[in-house]
Amino acid sequence: MTQTDRFDDLRDLYQEVILDHGRKPRHAQRLEAFDATAKGDNPMCGDRVQVWLKYDGDAVDRVGFEARGCAISVASADLMVETVQGRGRADTKALFEAFRTLARSGNCPDCGPALAEPLERLAPLAGVHEYPSRVKCATLPWHALIAALDGTKEASSE
């Protein structure tokens, strides 16, 4: 595809999945009925996100978000929702830790097979590890999600 060739040098970070979810997020909406919510704020770049959670027993049943930020942070929030819905709380936190390792280092060799499938879904974001200032863009929605799970209202991307 000539289109791909022309932009080859731009695609290592901005893969089609990221452009697509950054432009047209599927889950960018607040939940009318929710059990927990938290905001995330990256004061260095002004990115802001709010996440809403609805539980089904111990599991995260539904997640919605509103984000104001770059394509990386919006796409990351959207992919996060897709990978955590239906997942238990402990499992969600484990996925967050695995994703943070992925975003910081580009891979997660010690991540077990249980997380292989969601990590594959999140893999397009691994390119941020080459841009230390952008890692927080990818992890900010996750910090907000974990804050909501823990019952704290605010998260920063530190």
Partner: protein, 414 residues
């Protein structure tokens, strides 16, 4: 003699060879460095001056009786003379060495703010200040009962002069602290009118010249201002050194801010007395190597000359405004009549950070974000912008590369 001459064009290729870093490649591509407003690159003469000092002539200053200390003191103190000439200060003692512009403004806010201004008086800033010219005055307001006023800007990004004057009319403003050139909009503020209106209402004027001094000849006597601050690292010098210029009689009214060695006349447990200006504001071992480096940077700038630098920058800015106007969906933020080589923009719906990263992939360094000016961003209704800024080594080809890069980013985001 005021003879109108055409400024001699810069030999850019020769100038570029003076900056070793410009031959670097980034991500496999030649570096296109368009972030000089954040911090400028350093010419070889600055690098050599600092290295030579460490290798051949270094000791602490102002106190040693030995050869090395005396030579180092001379080399370090030479920056004060160079800065005085650069700004056309009346007296070298009016040059207070600080850590940077932020340090200079904080010194002023503490010393002039608490020592000279009285509770109930006001400090007037503008709606396009860097955080460094907002926060110290907020701290003064909260600690000392000083009112903080903000003169608004127009939609084109210029100071609203009618509103500015109206804010001075009750005579409560003791100090106007205002940028001489916006680090976001590139706007050069009308310094002469700012000063004459302020003085007519009994207010002193401090200019934040962090950006302006890189692009324009600053003559503090002609400006008739009372304080002028700037930082070395944007003027092709090292980090960690800046200047507060103040009228001598004002500096003499001001109490010290930092206490310690080097700023005293004598010390006893009962009482200490202060050194004369400027040393009473310069406690502790100064940034010796940085002073030596900044002296070299000032000499370098003077050897090129502000006429040639300003002409080059005006040409680059005109070219950039024209080229960027050809990029679909690109909107330039700030339309001031009098502007310098700092251009902020937004590109369609693309976030500025994405724009900056995608330019970086093409070897082009720009800044993106709120540029330490969040209140200005809110005034503009934006979260962030991308910003290209120019130095003496910037070429027209680099601006073409920026425009080409932006066209690709736009096509990529679709």
């Amino acid at each position: 003699m005021n003879v109108m001459t055409h400024p001699i064009g810069l030999d850019i290729e020769r100038i570029r060879t003076n900056f070793p870093i410009l031959s670097q490649k980034v991500r496999g591509k030649p570096l296109v460095f368009l972030d000089s407003a954040a911090s400028a690159q350093k010419p070889r003469v600055v690098i050599d001056a600092m290295v030579n000092a460490m290798e051949t002539q270094y000791a602490n200053v102002h106190r040693g009786l030995h050869w090395m200390s005396e030579r180092t003191t001379e080399a370090y103190e030479a920056v004060r003379d160079a800065a005085a000439v650069l700004m056309n200060a009346h007296d070298r003692a009016e040059i207070v060495i600080t850590g940077n512009s932020t340090g200079a403004i904080n010194l002023l806010a503490h010393s002039y703010g608490r020592g000279v201004l009285k509770p109930g008086q006001a400090v007037l800033i503008s709606g396009m200040e860097h955080h460094s010219n907002i926060v110290p005055w907020q701290m003064l307001r909260d600690a000392h009962g000083i009112e903080l006023r903000v003169a608004p800007i127009t939609d084109s990004g210029e100071l609203d002069m009618a509103a500015y004057e109206a804010l001075l009319e009750d005579g409560k403003v003791g100090l106007v602290a205002i940028t001489h050139m916006s680090n976001v909009l590139g706007t050069v503020t009308p310094a002469d009118r700012i000063v004459s209106i302020a003085h007519a209402h009994g207010a002193k004027v401090m200019f934040d010249g962090s950006q302006a001094i890189v692009h324009r000849k600053i003559d503090v006597q002609a400006l008739d201002c009372d304080f002028y601050v700037w930082t070395g690292h944007k003027l092709y010098g090292p980090t960690g050194i800046g200047v507060l210029w103040g009228r001598r009689e004002l500096l003499e009214q001001m109490p010290p801010f930092f206490g310690g060695g080097d700023m005293i006349s004598s010390v006893s447990y009962e009482q200490s007395t202060w050194a004369a200006v400027p040393h009473k504001f310069e406690a502790g071992t100064p940034a010796i190597l940085e002073g030596i480096g900044l002296k070299a940077a000032i000499d370098y700038v003077q050897s090129i000359g502000y006429d040639a630098m300003a002409a080059h920058e005006a040409s680059l800015t005109e070219h950039a405004l024209a080229k960027l106007a050809t990029v679909p969906e690109l909107r330039i933020i700030g339309q001031a009549q009098d502007r310098g080589g700092v251009i902020s923009f937004v590109l369609g719906k693309a976030h500025a950070h994405d724009v900056a990263t995608l330019l970086d992939r093409q070897g082009i360094a720009v800044r993106a974000g709120h540029h330490c000016a969040e209140p200005l961003m809110r005034r503009l209704g934006l979260d962030s912008t991308a910003r290209a800024s120019f130095g003496i080594y910037t070429t027209h080809d680099e601006i073409d590369a920026l425009a080409d890069g932006l066209n690709r980013v736009r096509d990529f985001f679709g």
